[in-house]
């Protein structure tokens, strides 16, 4: 079935939730064999558009056609599947209690009858090997026992896998967020191969480098509509950032020449087990780097527990506060207002005669709402009424508003828009100058440039320490793979 009709033609689509226009007059055309990069801030309307394409939501206005066929009112998840559309959503959507093969069966109803298990296992393994060579995942591995990165590999491979049906369009929403660099590169290579064979991909990513290197065309969204749509060669990082409507990152920040550690009190000390000693001095911003999932988060939690006197392997005298990166699982209290979400780490100090003083609670929430620019007109609104980036700001406000002088951050900028990031970076710098100490695990190279000192992790331990002027992508990668040369 050869035709040069676009795989998908979104024409003037609008969608609103109550008073909020999530999407207005959106246009998006994807040709066969094309990879379209879709970028924009959180809340720019990307997720809404993807949910409409995948049949989870239906549009209020406009038309959508697949291969020239206009979709009907009955369009839903299964119709989208029939058109050959597949989605990899941001949150993992595998069943942890099932094996890899059984998860493949969930999305392939035609695998049935005698011997289905072998069929499913073979199918998913073939595609895993195709997308992520040397992945080491077996068909009868239970998904819940796999690492997050491997789960994501299964999820992505499953989306591309097909039996006899044709997979025409795959939507990848932040597909590399949990992958290390090698796997991420494997995926991007595969995407090019897939499109060369006539398939189409919509790639949503905050990793602008990935979008620039992989897609044929880039569409930029802002405030629920498309603001730019052009061939990739006409874009560079600066133009992308400009179109997204955010301040250009101040890359030209003078790298401080001093390499010595801060001349202040040592606030955290972790004696080495296998790696090297880990020291943090007051007022520093210390980064944790390395490939994702090398024990950085666990170390942060260990430091946090030590500050509450639960762990002995870490020397820490001050109280610590924690900024979670995984908002749903470890950050947000979904039943509470923004205000209560901010104050929870501080209310213990606000108790007078057994009761929490509501006035202090309001004050601290208001103060940090202002300082971080949390976009809401009413702090008593539920936290879930905020966009993802603003929810993350609430988590920052919680930690910064608490009396703790040490703040631990667990890759908090995951999937957060550049505007929010710039706001937060500025505050962190200011707070550090006032004597607060930050320990910052991040998966983004750019963020390590804000750190005074960086520890690179491998196999659960810090294996290299780099002063800020030595922090480059090359040195970090070097240390991530071979501690001997980086020491």
């Amino acid at each position: 079935m050869i035709n040069d009709l676009p795989v998908v033609d979104v024409h003037g689509v609008g969608k609103s939730f109550g008073a909020v226009n999530a999407l207005q007059d959106a246009h998006l055309v994807v040709q066969p064999g094309e990879c379209v990069g879709l970028v924009g801030h959180n809340g720019a309307g990307k997720s809404t558009l993807m949910n409409i394409l995948s049949g989870v939501l239906s549009p209020d206005t406009g038309t959508i056609s697949f291969a020239g066929e206009a979709i009907t009112a009955r369009y839903g998840v299964s119709e989208a599947k029939q058109f050959g559309l597949r989605c990899v959503f941001q949150e993992l959507s595998l069943c942890p209690n099932l094996t890899v093969a059984e998860n493949a069966r969930i999305t392939h109803p035609q695998i049935r009858g005698f011997g289905w298990r072998n069929d499913a296992s073979e199918l998913i393994k073939n595609w895993l090997d195709e997308v992520f060579p040397d992945n080491g995942i077996k068909g009868d591995d239970v998904v819940g026992d796999l690492t997050i990165a491997r789960r994501q590999m299964v999820e992505i491979s499953r989306a591309f896998s097909s039996l006899d049906e044709q997979v025409r369009l795959v939507i990848l929403d932040e597909p590399t967020s949990s992958l290390d660099k090698i796997s991420a590169d494997q995926l991007l290579t595969f995407v090019k191969k897939f499109t060369a064979q006539g398939g189409s991909v919509i790639l949503i990513s905050h990793m602008l480098r990935e979008v620039l290197s992989t897609s044929d065309r880039i569409v930029v969204m802002r405030d629920g509509t498309m603001v730019a749509d052009d061939a990739t060669e006409n874009f560079d990082r600066d133009r992308l950032v400009r179109e997204m409507g955010s301040v250009l990152a101040e890359d030209a920040e003078e790298a401080s020449a001093e390499t010595a550690r801060a001349n202040t009190a040592r606030v955290i000390q972790i004696p080495a087990k296998d790696g090297i000693d880990l020291n943090v001095f007051q007022g520093e911003i210390v980064g944790f780097a390395g490939i994702a999932g090398q024990g950085q988060t666990e170390k942060l939690i260990q430091i946090f527990d030590a500050s509450n006197g639960k762990v002995n392997a870490v020397n820490i005298d001050n109280a610590a506060a924690f900024v979670a990166g995984d908002r749903q699982a470890a950050g947000v209290f979904p039943g509470w207002s923004i205000e209560k979400n901010i104050s929870i780490a501080s209310v213990r100090m606000m108790v007078q005669r057994y009761l929490i003083d509501p006035l202090q609670e309001i004050n601290i929430s208001n103060e940090w709402k202002e300082r971080l620019g949390i976009r809401t007109d009413d702090l008593s609104n539920n936290i879930l009424s905020l966009s993802g980036g603003n929810q993350q700001k609430v988590l920052f406000a919680r930690a910064l508003g608490s009396p703790a002088q040490i703040v631990l951050m667990d890759d908090p900028m995951r999937g957060v828009d550049i505007g929010t990031k710039q706001d937060v970076y500025a505050i962190l710098k200011q707070e550090a100058e006032n004597g607060r100490t930050f320990v910052w695990y991040t998966t983004e190279m750019d963020e390590l440039k804000h750190c005074d000192y960086v520890y690179v992790f491998r196999d659960g331990e810090a294996v290299a320490e780099l002063p800020s002027h030595k922090v480059t992508e090359a040195s970090i990668l070097n240390a991530s793979f071979d501690p001997a040369t980086a020491a």
């Binding site: 509450n308 924690f322 209290f333 009761l355």
Partner: protein
């Protein structure tokens, strides 16, 4: 906030409408008497339901099934120790509290040490408590001290004394839930235990205190119930298992955790009592009465549930 958004409104609406039905059938003075009886019995429901509510609020899977066994054991021991002597009233009460503390701590120890769901932990331990009660007193019924019986059945006008005491406790607990660090911690743990831990809340201590509080309230309930009904009996706690859970949920507390309220407990406790009374008034046989009770519980839950 809109009144219909208050989680406890449904229980109170149900209570009022059932009372109107009863009063319109049996007249106003009978209606007042029924209300007094409802307050007397409802008080015991509320007393155990307060503890159960805090436990349920800790999050999915948290429920205390050992409440009936705890009531039985505490009251059996207290009645035998007091042996009808008024001088022993206070020591008896202290023993009851001590038993509650022990049971709560033991329940929590099982949950934390064996890492088993609270429902199974409290279920298995309740067998132990019940066996201990049987062994301790062989099911003999010892009369409560006169003063205890008088207090438990006493009234000011038409209002039972105990109801006033528990009402004061309810108000106190309202403040504990919404204004103290302990209450805030319970709500936080119930919504997201991991986030609560990372916000510096002592999660395990909060859970420990909650289970202990629940057991202590159950033990105290057993003490007064024995006084109210002329002694401890092995099956005295039986209906309190289902009732404590039903009252909590009909009262608008979320079974998913992290969301609780106290006014609903009174609404639901009165509702449950009046419901049975109304079906009696209508002269229905036991079978129909059971069916209707169950159907109305399910209907209340179904109506207050959120559509998917």
């Amino acid at each position: 906030m809109n009144l219909t958004e208050k989680p406890w409104i449904w229980a109170w609406l149900g209570t009022v409408s059932i009372w109107l039905v009863i009063a319109s059938i049996s007249g106003l003075s009978a209606g007042t008497e029924v209300l007094t009886a409802a307050a007397s019995f409802g008080t015991f429901f509320v007393l155990v339901a307060i503890g159960q509510m805090f436990v349920v609020t800790l999050g999915p899977g948290n429920v205390d099934l050992s409440i009936p066994a705890c009531m039985t054991l505490a009251s059996t021991v207290a009645m035998k120790v007091m042996n009808g002597s008024e001088a022993m009233l206070i020591p008896g009460f202290l023993i009851v509290v001590a038993i509650g503390l022990t049971i709560g701590a033991f329940n929590f120890a099982l949950i934390i040490l064996l890492r088993i769901p609270p429902i199974i932990a409290t279920l298995s331990s309740s067998f132990l408590y019940l066996s201990t009660a049987i062994w301790y007193n062989r099911g003999l019924r010892v009369k409560p001290p006169e003063a205890l019986a008088e207090f438990a059945t006493g009234k000011i006008g038409v209002v039972p004394l105990l109801a006033i005491a528990v009402l004061i406790l309810t108000v106190l607990m309202h403040f504990v839930l919404h204004r103290t660090y302990f209450g805030r911690s319970i709500l936080a743990v119930g919504q997201n235990a991991k986030a609560a831990h990372l916000a510096g809340i002592p999660v395990e201590r909060t859970r420990f205190l909650t289970y202990v509080m629940c057991a202590v309230l159950a033990a105290i309930c057993g003490y007064f119930l024995a006084g109210f009904s002329g002694g401890a009996a092995l099956n005295m706690g039986e209906e309190y298992l289902l009732m404590s859970i039903a009252v909590v949920v009909i009262g608008g507390t979320s079974v998913a955790g992290g969301f609780a309220n106290l006014p609903g407990l009174w609404g639901a406790a009165l509702f449950m009592f009046l419901l049975v009374t109304m079906l009696n008034t209508l002269g229905l046989s036991a079978g129909y009465r059971l069916i209707l009770t169950g159907a109305i519980i399910v209907a209340v839950i179904a109506i207050s549930g959120k559509k998917r």
